[in-house]
Symmetry: D2
Subunit: 288 residues, 4 copies
């Protein structure tokens, strides 16, 4: 369960059509490269004819030296089986950018967990269309970039953001970034984006979910972390959670309480993504 | 928190436009009728110009004898203030009918809680469009009536149900009754209906919510108990709850797990309704 | 996640000192016996020098025929590695006895879940030192045996229970059986016992936990399912859960609410034990 | 549910022996001083002969001017009934000191919630026996005082702390202050102290609760906020909560996860205390 960077540990993700012998083949491969399996999770939508997903963490002395050999063996072993895979060195943290508007609760939670050593990432930048969080961000030693996005045409702002991100980050977290991103932008950055939606999707999609929740008289409010796709509020869900609501809560109360659910849900989703626990599968996720 | 019938206790519900002095007027009324307040809850949407809601439970020796005087005093005291009220003798349990189709989990939970003395109601009848639960129902000493509802025209079945219910029950619980009820039926029975919807409304309204939840890849499933209105799945929500779901759950797994959430949520809603803890307010509820 | 009996599926539990190659050896073994891994969980207290635990479910046509060969291969493969293992045919449900005193909530929950097909066990008998649940038990088609246990000397009663259980059951559930069992009894029956303790162990060990919880003014009450050992209330914990409590709850209220936590916690523990998801490890459990 | 300071609102706490007419007397008093009841909670351990507790929030134009008259009326009205009461002007926030050692998670949560306007207090000082949090504290504009407490004799340190606190604060929060405070200190400061205990009391009292929890193999970990009394870990509980634990969590993992429960539980307790929602009653609390 350690979430910090791990020396001499690799994480291998394998997925593809299920068939007998995959687990044995992967385990044998790890063994013949002198790896010692630390944890192994697997899931199959159907053992006969379904889709197979596996996550293996293994330790191996002098991992960096052995990586090319292991990569080559993976290609030879899994390629003929029609499987896809990715192998990552766990001593290399992913680079995470955060995009934010004015609300700071998700942003500060991520920065603070990172400072505590509980998020195995580096944070090369925070980008905001506002400036109110700049001082806080920089007090954590993280660069802050202000990219205003006023006016109907967001293309210049988006282009500037793409330029900042390109080649510098492995994934982006929208920590209450209140601008709709264009399909071109999503194509342009080429890395996954995780969003926190301030409602319990698929309920209350779109804007002002807490006001809608108040009007509907719900007894629980929630939040949803999901990967961003071109279909707004429709991407694969990573994590969700809820908190109790009563008649005595105003829409503003719900929003204040919801903020605590949002930051917890987003933090878990980010931690799981950063440690390669989340595999996308169509519009769903496998979370190991 | 006792939920069984209470001798010599009354429950008074008051609501109407908020104004200074209501609480004092009600408390003084209880005192001058020698009542002793056991519990008091109040809520105002806005102390100046909002709507006011109050529930007072008070003890009074020989309550039955005093009821007419208290009623008359309520009319004199609250009438001029424009308030509405209802006074109930807590030694008289509400009469609850249960309507059910084939799924027995909500039905059995209600029958069993009732037998344990945890639901202060009487159950004069269970009505079903199927017969599979008849033996179980009767083993609890509760009458079972079979009213088939095949074919597109439900009016004969509905008429028969209205005839069974009329004058015999104070509220009806749809414990997974899988027939859509007509507006005429709802007008005809003249008592509140509580429904359990097997999803976390307003997500997944309509049929097959667990299949939809699986397709959407949600990480929590839920259930909603609500009063029935002519707008399907849109009535005032009384209670909601959720359970964790993962990628490894099939739609059938979600349904099986959901059953436990459904029975818990419905039971709480029924208990609260039976003890006059729920006040309808437009399309919302106040739950004391 | 299917919990019913599964045709042509085996469950293999392996544990022992961790060392490189165990997962590969087990996976290869399954493959060479034409098994297809359905699910695999593993845990190691420490990949270098710790204890290793694995649960593998695999499908195999004509499993019953192949079992002896697989068993022999396991002995040859895992024996030299110093591992222990157990292989079970998932089409053969475990035989579960239930022991109960007067409280019926845990008992009925188990019987009812079993009837719904959600507990993959057979229930050859219910044993009680009281008779109040006899009729209910028999209405589920389950034999009921009354073994009174009045007086200070329980040895005759215990001997009678051992005689009923011996050879007939694979595990025993104490579903609120309010008698302390002697070390001799525990030795005598030779199968695991699961108990539900009506508190959140290790808080409020011993009798009257709800009264103690009320006196201590706790804000959550809980229940604990655990394996029974000779140290009362000290056995390995399988599952725990809690419910909210407030100042307004009397000790009796806490007990009534606690009953719902107890039945849920015990049911989960029983399901997990019945599906070989729980491995004892000293005074702790691994729950896959 | 607004938690910020409220202009022209008073909070009245009344408690004493229950007797008929108390609610009426209090409500009439509020009305004759032109107050408008915003919220009212009451609880009685037993309506005949028990203890009575009430919290009334009421609005009143020019409250500050009216306070002396209301106070005098309270003395005249409630004194003869043997009741105790306290009346506070909600526009005057309580002054809260925070004491902390090296762990910053509870401290930062409180400072951050305060900055968001979600804790209706002022924070005149943070006192620590370490210096690592000084910079963070001051970045919130809050004074930081370092009072070392090395060596077995804490009396000098305690005396210094008493001097800092005396007359300057209305309550003290021990936000993971890892020193045992002497009875003399508790007598000396004369204001309530709220402590967060990093376990689910009464389980795992004393030091190293997460290690003990790991050894006991619990499936939930928790935290408890309570008032400090001379009996270590035995004071009245204000709030508790839990998080799931599994066999895969090390003691360090439990501690890291527990930190999130601790900060949430402590924050709720502080908010409730700051808004006069908590009434001590022997070794228990009434939380409205």
């Amino acid at each position: 369960m350690h979430t910090g960077p791990q020396r001499d540990q690799a994480c291998l993700i394998v997925h593809g059509p299920d068939r007998p012998g995959i687990v044995a083949a992967v385990a044998a491969l790890v063994t013949r490269h002198e790896g010692n399996i630390v944890s192994l999770d697997q899931y199959s939508t159907d053992p006969t004819g379904g889709d197979f997903f596996q996550r293996v963490v293994f330790g191996r002395r002098d991992l960096a030296v052995a990586m090319p050999d292991i990569e080559a063996d993976l290609a030879q072993t899994l390629g003929p089986m029609g499987m896809e895979w990715s192998l990552t060195d766990r001593s290399v943290p992913k680079r995470m950018a955060i995009m934010v508007s004015t609300s700071d609760h998700c942003l500060l939670e991520l920065l603070w967990r990172h400072r505590r050593g509980e998020l195995p990432v580096t944070i090369p930048m925070v980008i905001s269309n506002h400036t109110n969080t700049a001082e806080d961000v920089r007090s954590f030693g993280v660069p802050f970039f202000h990219v205003p996005s006023a006016g109907p045409d967001k293309s210049a702002a988006e282009a500037e953001i793409v330029k900042l991100l390109a080649g510098n980050v492995d994934f982006v977290v929208l920590a209450r970034y209140m601008q709709i991103l264009s399909p071109d932008f999503l194509d342009g950055i080429g890395v996954p984006l995780i969003n926190i939606h301030h409602s319990f999707l698929p309920a209350f999609i779109g804007a002002a979910p807490y006001r809608k929740a108040k009007e509907r008289g719900v007894k629980l409010i929630g939040a949803t972390a999901h990967y961003v796709t071109k279909d707004l509020d429709e991407g694969p869900i990573i994590e969700q959670d809820v908190a109790r609501a009563t008649h005595a809560h105003s829409a503003a109360d719900l929003q204040a309480r919801g903020a605590y659910v949002e930051r917890a849900v987003l933090s878990r989703a980010v931690e799981w993504h950063a440690t390669d626990r989340v595999i996308r599968h169509g519009n769903q996720t496998i979370v190991f």
